[in-house]
């Protein structure tokens, strides 16, 4: 398999603070990488670096064939992010948010309705302003956006936060579907047992560097 992510001594700053202080990482296409670590370890910064949202200050990095130093704009449309902060326009409904994104990416807006149905947001839930939705429902809209968009790289920042058990199962199922379809998934979590089940590779971050790498249960199952 080709490498989806290659980082060497990658450094990224938040202001003047080195959120990532020399990360080495290899992720193959079509696999799931789980990133674990305490608050402030650099998990979110790593996801933002991989999505081209945070600049690479030193070291080298390639994601989906794009150089992180020079080709971040080309990389971004291939990446989908489910972050801490809601990515929705609160005044627009879930359906309108998805339609806007899909039109921007020159995809049929009708894909949004199918994806919303998949995550259980049907009827009024899809048409009320998204600020009226609960945090968990907004999270589901984010998952629907990824399912409709089908990016080559999924970046999930603590995806199960705010989701009920059904939502977590749904999230795991979508991740598995995406990987089977050839996508690569990088997710951060504070739940080591759960992510170890769905990940091929588990990385522990501490102080902005990789402290430990181990094989996940999915890799053993697939093998």
């Amino acid at each position: 398999m080709a490498p989806a992510v290659t980082l060497r001594s990658a450094v990224a700053l938040l202001g003047r603070f080195p959120a990532l202080a020399g990360v080495d990482l290899d992720v193959e296409e079509g696999t799931v990488l789980a990133v674990l670590g305490p608050n402030g370890a650099g998990k979110t910064s790593l996801l933002h670096l991989l999505g081209g949202l945070l600049a690479l200050r030193s070291g080298t990095g390639r994601v989906l064939g794009c150089d992180l130093a020079t080709q971040r704009r080309a990389l971004r449309p291939q990446v989908g992010l489910l972050g801490h902060a809601s990515t929705l326009y609160p005044e627009l409904s879930a359906a309108e948010n998805l339609a806007f994104g899909l039109r921007a990416m020159r995809r049929p807006a009708s894909d949004g309705a199918v994806a919303l149905e998949r995550v259980g947001l049907i009827g009024a839930l899809a048409t009320v302003p998204s600020r009226s939705l609960s945090a968990g429902q907004q999270r589901r809209v984010g998952l629907a956006w990824l399912a409709a968009r089908r990016p080559a790289l999924w970046l999930l920042d603590e995806p199960s936060a705010g989701l009920d058990e059904d939502g977590r199962e749904l999230c795991d199922a979508l991740v598995e579907e995406a990987v089977r379809g050839g996508a690569t998934v990088v997710l951060s979590s504070h739940d080591p047992d759960r992510v170890a089940r769905i990940a091929d590779l588990v990385v522990d971050l501490a102080g902005g560097v990789v402290a430990q790498v181990r094989v996940g249960e999915r890799a053993r199952r697939v093998a």
Binding site: R76, A85, Y89, P129
Partner: protein, 220 residues
């Protein structure tokens, strides 16, 4: 670029239609400013007519800062900023879309304020209608500057106070040209060179915005 501009413009106008910030906050603020200006000048019709052009543009300028702040706030959260960046939209298109949406709102505001000028400042309605080209050009410049500086301060903790400090000096030339052009038309003349000055400012501000919006939204 234009396709993205239409998409972003439609989205911003749809959000405005939902929130009605223009209707309930920006327009009332502009009208209130105009009323206060009229009260400050006193009952003399001559004084009111004489001061009308400058006070119209001052009220529009101040209210436009509110509208610009609201326009920038649509993409002020980390999440929505990430959304736009990950969509791969053309930065120039995003700028133009937001500027056009803001311009449409400022035209509505200008129309209401001109009605206020008729009622409060006793200006000639026929002559006031002839200021439309001046109004269109000045609004294009206001929208371009407001959108550009809005992107500059978006996401900062001091955006609400910083935006007026940055925008108002940059818009002083628009205030001067708008006032002179409007005064000339209301006095029975034509807009003359002031329309050309405003047209040049609108084109320059829009061009600068198209070029700079990407780096502002996406610093290295």
């Amino acid at each position: 670029m234009w396709r993205d501009a239409v998409l972003v413009c439609g989205k911003d106008l749809r959000i405005e239609a939902r929130t009605r910030v223009l209707l309930w906050q920006v327009v009332p603020f502009g009208v209130l400013a105009l009323i206060l200006f009229a009260l400050a000048l006193g009952p003399s019709e001559v004084a009111l007519r004489h001061g009308a052009p400058g006070l119209l543009w001052l009220a529009l300028l101040l209210a436009s800062v509110l509208a610009s702040s609201r326009s920038a706030a649509i993409e002020a959260t980390e999440g929505t900023r990430a959304t736009v960046r990950l969509l791969g939209l053309d930065a120039g298109g995003v700028f133009l879309g937001k500027a056009i949406a803001l311009g449409v709102q400022l035209l509505v505001l200008a129309g209401v304020l001109e009605l206020g000028l008729l009622v409060l400042f006793h200006v000639d309605g026929g002559r006031l209608a002839l200021t439309t080209p001046i109004c269109l050009l000045a609004v294009a410049a206001l929208a371009a500057v407001g959108t550009l500086y809005g992107a500059l301060v978006a996401g900062t903790e001091v955006s609400v106070t910083l935006l007026p400090l940055l925008v108002l000096p940059a818009l002083a030339p628009v205030l001067i040209a708008g006032e002179r052009g409007t005064a000339s038309v209301l006095a029975g003349g034509g807009p003359g060179r002031w329309a050309i000055v405003l047209a040049v400012m609108a084109v320059v501000y829009l061009a600068v915005g198209v070029v700079l919006y990407g780096p502002l939204e996406d610093p290295a």
